[in-house]
């Protein structure tokens, strides 16, 4: 070991050089924006494409979008969706989902159901906080899904825009599915020999 090296070593020891090295990192972090954040009080920013809780959406006038077509049920790889559809008796020919269940404990958040939905009634929101003590509450029914949808309508729409399912333009806002009208009387009088 040469004299120079020895001197260097002694000098390092006297000046507590390692400590200054370590403190340098510490002090650097004191002036650095923190990477972690105080979770319940602070919320993370979530991208629009995030696959969170599923929700059912309404049109702007408050009408349910879902027409009860059961395609989400068919598309679901984990078979967690059950739709029971019916005809709206007050508005003949209008099909709607009488009951709609998503067993969120089974859901794998693949988003296939949203992709399958022909009327963009299903969307994924940024909601991810639905942990619970009671597993049974994780069977989302129609009421719960609409509650989520009403609360996070904006998230849902953004999800659809981000995935290219709905266009964020004025014309597409007017998009909705129209049912055929029912006819109670013939559109033209029946021929004479049959009356």
């Amino acid at each position: 070991m040469g004299v120079g090296t020895l001197t260097k070593k002694v000098l390092h020891a006297i000046l507590f050089d390692e400590i200054w090295d370590a403190m340098k990192v510490t002090f650097k972090h004191m002036f650095h924006k923190p990477i972690t954040f105080q979770y319940p009080r602070e919320q993370r920013h979530i991208p629009d494409t995030h696959r969170g809780a599923l929700a059912l959406l309404r049109y702007d006038d408050g009408k349910e979008r879902c027409v009860g077509c059961d395609l989400c049920e068919a598309a679901c790889p984990s078979r967690c969706i059950k739709v029971i559809s019916a005809e709206d008796k007050s508005l003949p020919l209008q099909r709607y989902a009488k009951e709609f269940y998503i067993d969120i404990t089974k859901c794998v958040f693949c988003g296939y159901c949203v992709e399958a939905c022909p009327v963009n009634a299903l969307a994924m929101t940024k909601l991810y906080e639905f942990s619970t003590h009671d597993k049974r509450t994780l069977l989302f029914d129609k009421r719960r899904l609409y509650e989520i949808g009403d609360k996070f309508l904006d998230d849902g729409k953004r999800y659809l825009y981000a995935h290219g399912q709905e266009k964020e333009t004025e014309s597409s806002r007017e998009y909705r599915y129209f049912f055929p009208q029912s006819v109670v009387k013939g559109t033209q009088p029946p021929p004479k020999h049959l009356t």
Binding site: V67, C69, D70, P92, P180
Partner: protein
């Protein structure tokens, strides 16, 4: 392959040769090119084609290239000709077909998500197959949906104008309720005259619609096809034994579909002679009783006047104790049983085994006693066969059909299609002898309306005419000259003019019908409720057999005698010995060999079971009589409801009140059930496995399509438990176990839906027993004119939309045909008496009188009134007098003389 049949089944068509895709093919002349290609196994898409009717050629998909032609040709409408060179594949053809799909799609709404046909749609399949992703000039039709009909919705936006619905309605059903109409620039399918659809509602149009243009109102929007479980089973409503698919979701029956569908479009046209696979309104739209709210879900025990629910274990313990007490105190002859012919063969077999071996009584009967027993007894006595000798193919290909006393399009709509096909395709001549202007009479060549109750008399007239006009078959008659002489002498008492006067026909009409039947090379008789459910039914069936014999139609190929039955398994009930006079087979109960065989089979070889003595048996009416005299103390009813079926004059209530023990086993709480001490909840046909035998003798499977509702059990299961409780060691764990036992005892009974064709031989009957009975059978006097104080004849009969009392539990059918509580009367009578629709009349018979509204009907003859037999409100059945046939013990109570006046 779908070949258009020759109108004469015996003539062979000329064979031609052509080349398809380089392969030489031989085909029959006069056949569509599409059929020839399909017969080689190649499938060309075609949306407007179905084998049950002639090609229509509207969809433009079945394009093929013919050598020598520049453009592709539609193969369905092109006739196959000798020497054609055809190419069925290629990029040009694919592109042309794709263009056709695009043409249809360009005016088709893309509303698949809300369409019921989604996933079961030919247009969807074709768009997928041809990769249609872009539509250049799409436009919407925006036609309002027609929801005026009671069961079907017409969404003409989705219609591709393939015409399948119209064609099947016109060609197969011969109802012609639909038509094309140009409205709003588009060809639309509408009900005739653009009125609300009013037809027989068979729903075949719905079945063949390849898109969602026609939808079923009862299951609309409920589920998508892929969500439902589909079970092929046999319809339980009538004796036709149609196959159907019950589609269920969990515990609900969602809808019923038929094997007839646009998906099964390839077939041999001649195969429709065995049935076209469709259903009628009852089968397709009357399924709601299966998961009805009114179903019994728990056993009920009578405790202090009330029926209270109880657990099965407790019920069965108590029931067995009570039954054993009755048996110990009064002996086995104090117990009797009745079972409905809607049960499966296995259950019917088990029932008679239970009554005969475990209980030890021969007092048992089934609902086949109400009419079918007349037919079977006559056929056994005369021809030595125990079911009808004409299968559906024979009927279809007949040259002459004599329909006697049957409104076949209403009672057995699918069987009637065989007659319709005979008329349409094979140009048969049909004579309908019935007491109303029925739909089949309107289609027939010789509609012969007769006064109600004189159908049997008309048959006597037919025999007289045959002998008078010398229409007899000398060969058939020559073998039995003695019998023929006896017949001739007996018929001598009949005067044609008198018959014509009493029946309300003319001697010419009688002669024409007789000549039509006698001169046809292939002739079939169809016997309906107008014969077998009237007094003298047994005699009239024998007379009809005489008619077939003297005209040489017995045993000749293509001829036969057929019947139509009301309940699904009446034939099976008699085949499996659920009658005091029969053992399974059926063989006579008194036959010593058979008794020994069954005694050993049901016991052991060393210890045969002791069967009841043959003299002790009792039929339906005898059982009720013995209940009334106190001889019978316990009655076990399975699905039977005598209180609501038989007229008040039989005093069923009094008989049932006298019983110490009344057990009712039924899916519903019936009026009889309300009197019972024990009510056991049974399953409907949709929840059990087994087989049923249809009127033709086809043994067909019934498969469970859903789990038993509530705590109900299949009937065989309850019977097994009861037998075990009574000390028998029965080890049946499924219907299959019972089936295995029947297979051993009756080899060949399970015929997989292909019964052996029976001819029947009258030789032994004619040689031995004929002469003794024949004179008594031809007495034209006994059905004289009605007495002056009761000039009307009141008939109770079936209507199209109902079957027994079961269908009144099906909300879909009640929706179509609710209980109007009105009596149908002819227009002439209504006019004469000044009666408007709904006017009240008082109907008085020998048994009582009641007031009800009037419904004028164009179908009835003057002098007759008609009431559907399915409803008891008002209790029209109580006006009827009961007449029990001396030979077959069949109680007849569907016709009576009444006086009608304004109330």
């Amino acid at each position: 392959m779908a070949l258009k049949p020759a109108t004469n089944p015996e003539a062979e068509a000329v064979t031609i040769e052509l080349t398809i895709d380089g392969t030489p093919v031989t085909a029959r002349d006069g056949v569509s090119l599409y059929d020839v290609i399909a017969s080689t196994g190649k499938i060309i898409p075609a949306m407007c084609y179905h084998y049950t009717f002639d090609p229509f050629g509207s969809c433009g998909m079945c394009l093929v290239m013919q050598e020598g032609k520049k453009a592709p040709v539609r193969s369905c409408t092109a006739k196959a000709a000798a020497g054609m060179v055809i190419r069925t594949d290629g990029d040009d053809l694919f592109a042309a077909r794709k263009k056709a799909v695009e043409k249809h799609l360009s005016v088709h709404p893309l509303d698949c998500p809300v369409c019921d046909a989604d996933g079961h749609c030919e247009l969807q399949d074709m768009a997928f197959l041809h990769g249609v992703t872009n539509l250049a000039n799409a436009k919407q039709k925006l036609i309002p949906e027609d929801t005026r009909s009671l069961v079907l919705d017409f969404n003409m936006n989705r219609c591709i104008a393939c015409g399948e619905c119209i064609n099947i309605c016109k060609d197969v059903q011969m109802i012609d309720a639909l038509q094309f109409m140009k409205k709003g620039g588009f060809n639309q399918v509408v009900a005739k005259g653009d009125l609300p659809l009013q037809c027989e509602f068979c729903g075949d149009c719905l079945a063949v619609c390849p898109v969602g243009a026609i939808t079923n109102k009862y299951s609309k929007y409920l589920y998508k096809p892929w969500q439902m479980k589909k079970t092929r089973t046999t319809c339980n409503y009538c004796g036709d034994g149609c196959q159907m698919d019950v589609e269920t979701k969990d515990t609900h029956v969602v809808r019923v579909t038929s094997p007839l569908s646009w998906k099964n479009k390839w077939g041999d046209r001649t195969e429709t002679a065995k049935g076209h696979g469709g259903l009628c309104v009852r089968g397709r739209f009357g399924f709601q009783f299966i998961d009805s709210k009114t179903r019994l879900t728990r056993p009920l025990i009578r405790k202090e006047q009330d029926l209270v629910p109880a657990p099965w274990l407790e019920t069965m313990h108590e029931l067995v104790d009570r039954l054993q007490a009755v048996k110990a105190r009064f002996g086995p002859q104090a117990i009797a049983g009745l079972i409905t012919a809607r049960c499966t063969n296995e259950e019917l077999y088990l029932f008679q085994k239970l009554m005969r071996t475990v209980v030890g009584t021969n007092q048992l009967d089934s609902s086949a006693r109400y009419g079918h027993a007349n037919f079977v007894h006559a056929m056994r006595d005369a021809l030595d066969v125990s079911r009808m000798t004409a299968d559906s193919e024979t009927i279809t290909k007949a040259k002459a059909i004599l329909v006697v006393g049957s409104n076949i399009t209403e009672t057995n709509p699918v069987a009637s299609l065989r007659v319709k096909e005979a008329i349409r395709v094979y140009k048969a001549q049909v004579a309908v002898v019935d007491s109303a202007h029925t739909n089949i009479a309107k289609l027939s060549s010789h509609p012969t309306p007769v006064k109600p109750g004189t159908e049997g008399l008309f048959v006597q007239g037919l025999l007289k005419a045959v002998i008078e006009r010398d229409l007899v078959d000398t060969e058939a008659v020559g073998q039995h000259p003695a019998a023929f002489a006896a017949l001739k002498q007996a018929v001598g008492a009949v005067s044609l003019a008198r018959v014509a006067e009493l029946t309300g026909s003319t001697t010419d009409q009688i002669g024409d019908v007789a000549a039509l039947f006698a001169e046809a090379p292939r002739a079939v008789i169809i016997i309906g409720e107008g014969i077998v459910r009237r007094s003298g039914g047994y005699r009239d069936v024998l007379n009809l057999i005489d008619l077939a014999w003297v005209t040489g139609k017995v045993g000749r190929p293509g001829c036969g005698i057929a019947t139509v039955v009301e309940e699904a398994n009446e034939q099976g009930a008699l085949d499996l010995g659920v009658a005091p006079e029969f053992l399974p087979g059926p063989v006579p109960f008194g036959d010593e060999n058979a008794r020994a065989r069954f005694a050993t089979a049901w016991g052991t070889a060393d210890q045969p079971v002791r069967l009841p003595d043959s003299g002790q048996g009792a039929t339906l009416t005898d059982i009720l009589d013995r209940c009334r005299t106190g001889q019978i103390k316990a009655l076990y009813l399975i699905g039977e409801n005598p209180l609501e079926t038989l007229p008040a004059s039989v005093n069923v209530k009094e008989a049932l009140d006298k019983l110490d023990l009344l057990i009712c086993q039924d899916p519903f709480l019936t009026e009889t059930g309300k009197l019972a001490h024990f009510v056991l909840p049974a399953c409907t046909f949709a929840e059990k496995d087994g087989t049923v035998t249809n009127q033709e003798g086809k043994v067909q499977r019934v498969r469970a399509s859903l789990d038993p509702i509530g705590e109900s059990f299949p009937d065989w299961h309850i019977m097994t438990a009861l037998a075990s409780g009574l000390g028998a060691s029965w080890e049946y764990e499924s219907a299959q176990d019972i089936q295995n036992e029947i297979m051993k005892l009756l080899p060949g009974y399970y015929n997989l839906g292909q019964p052996k064709r029976l001819a029947g031989s009258p030789d032994s009957y004619l040689a031995n027993r004929f002469a003794g009975g024949v004179t008594k059978r031809y007495t034209a006097a006994d059905a004289g004119n009605p007495p002056a104080d009761k000039p009307f004849r009141l008939i109770m009969g079936q209507v199209l939309y109902h079957s027994g009392k079961l269908s009144t539990q099906a909300s879909g059918l009640i929706n179509l045909a609710p209980n109007t509580g009105r009596v149908h009367m002819s227009l002439e009578d209504c006019e004469r008496m000044g009666l408007k629709e709904g006017a009240l009349v008082r109907i008085t018979s020998a048994k009582g009188s009641l007031v009800m509204g009037v419904l004028p009907s164009a179908l009835l003859l003057p002098g007759s009134c008609f009431v559907p037999e399915h409803f008891n409100e008002p209790p029209v059945k109580d006006l009827m007098t009961v007449d029990v046939d001396p030979v077959t013990k069949v109680p007849t109570f569907k016709l009576t003389q009444v006086f009608v006046e304004k109330a």
